[in-house]
Amino acid sequence: MGDQTAPIVIVGAGHAGGAAAALLRQYGWRGPITLIGAEPHLPYQRPPLSKAWLKGETVAASLLLRPVSFYAANAIDLILSQRATHIDRAARCVVLQSGARIAWHRLILALGSTVRTLDLPGITLGGVLTLRDIANAEALKAALRPGARLAVIGGGYIGLEVAASARALGADVVVLEREDRLLARVASPPLAAFFRQHHAQRGVNVQTGAHIESLEGKHGTISGVRVADGRLCACDVALIGVGAAANDSLARDAGLECDGGILVDHATHTSDPAIYAVGDCTRRPLGTMRMRLESVPNALEMAKQAAADICGRPPPAPEVPWFWSDQYEIRLQIAGLRDGAVECVTRGDPRTASFAIWHLAGDGTVLSVEAVNAPADFMAAKALIAGRRRVMPAALADPSRSLRELAA
């Protein structure tokens, strides 16, 4: 784009929106940039909310993506504690809840996602919590006293990270998962089995196939979770961690194409070429599919794609999607996507809590790795996935063959 002086508005001041603003300046955009956020906070990192921050190992200031001085220094106007209520595509402006109209030449939607909840009797009881933002995390932290009894409903990453942090804080923890294994949508069966065993070793009561009937309370506060077989898991606090839905209603109301997420192309254009969408609120093309990825690396990658396109720079090199999770002393790093994998090879011994599960296509092409305390496997696999390289499963499984040799 030749004219780099026109105004850009970014709706959503999370990881994706905050990164987009910074990258636009880095890439040379000279026009006004306005970043609008619904929360009262500057853009901050969410991953520590279930981990270091929850355990009291880090302070609020260190959560900020960038210090407060950054925004003035880079001429990024912040409008916080304001939701956008309407996009006027014809007039090219965003309407805020205050009634203010903010005009744009290019609009970036970074609307994030909303945690799903459950339609259960007792869901509105006190002590029934979710975890998405700092306010949620404050409430959870206050409830996790030593000896508190926590019921985690949903055995996904958020639930398991909170379970691990709660154990570190001295709480009793039960994890109730509806599916017959943990991490059903987001990890391979052997990895899920490892985490189940590890959480059990750390004193977490993990129950799979647990269908919840109701949440029971006393004096307006939760006192237990009733499972379908009639058992009652007594608890003082419950965390609902059953996934999140894309915040796409603002886009849908404006007539942009959505399908459980705002549909975008490889450069993050929505169906209106003047409007971009990035991060959790989108469904983006990856390989032959359109996918929703809820992760920080995905938010940053899409911010990069949008900023590059707006500033007329070449697009970033196609990325290998990746993800990480910390639980107890375990660092899990995942690279790539398992879809299409037919073979699964484990390097290392899960009993030592340092191993990697490699997922290969029928012809040996490396598609994904799930690396547990195995950073070299993660990095080696990431390079092999990016290069669409093939490996011999037998060689991969042989501990006497080095990764360097396999990656050569």
């Binding site: 910074a22 300046r25 880095q26 990192q45 991953p47 520590p48 993506l65 960038r66 210090p67 950054f70 880079n74 920080v296 690396p297 940053l300 970033p316 090199a317 990325e319 290998v320 990746w322 990480w324 910390d326 660092r331 790093q333 950073p375 070299a376 993660f378 990095m379 080696a380 990431k382 390079a383 990016a386 990764l403 360097r404 990656a407």
Partner: protein, 108 residues
Amino acid sequence: MPKVTYIEFNGTPHTVDVPVGLSVMRGAVDNNVPGIDADCGGECACATCHVYIEPDWLDRIGLPVPGSQEASMLSFAAVAQPNSRLSCQISMTEALDGLVVKLPEGQH
């Protein structure tokens, strides 16, 4: 306040103040220095804050501890060199005032 100079792959230098106790990665991010991605925010999970330490500074900074998370990540990082470090693992001190690091062509 101690200063760090970050030299982009294309040769553009950026000299900025980095408060003692902050990481060299944070100094770049807080000042919008291009070429440091820092996807994971300093958790040593992504290796996208990779820098080359100028030889004069290598004795003061040191190499990653063998077998550490950082060393393992760097062992398979694209374009790693003997003077590679992950800048999230270098904490700023007064003694590092004047540090010069070069940035690789890309972080992915």
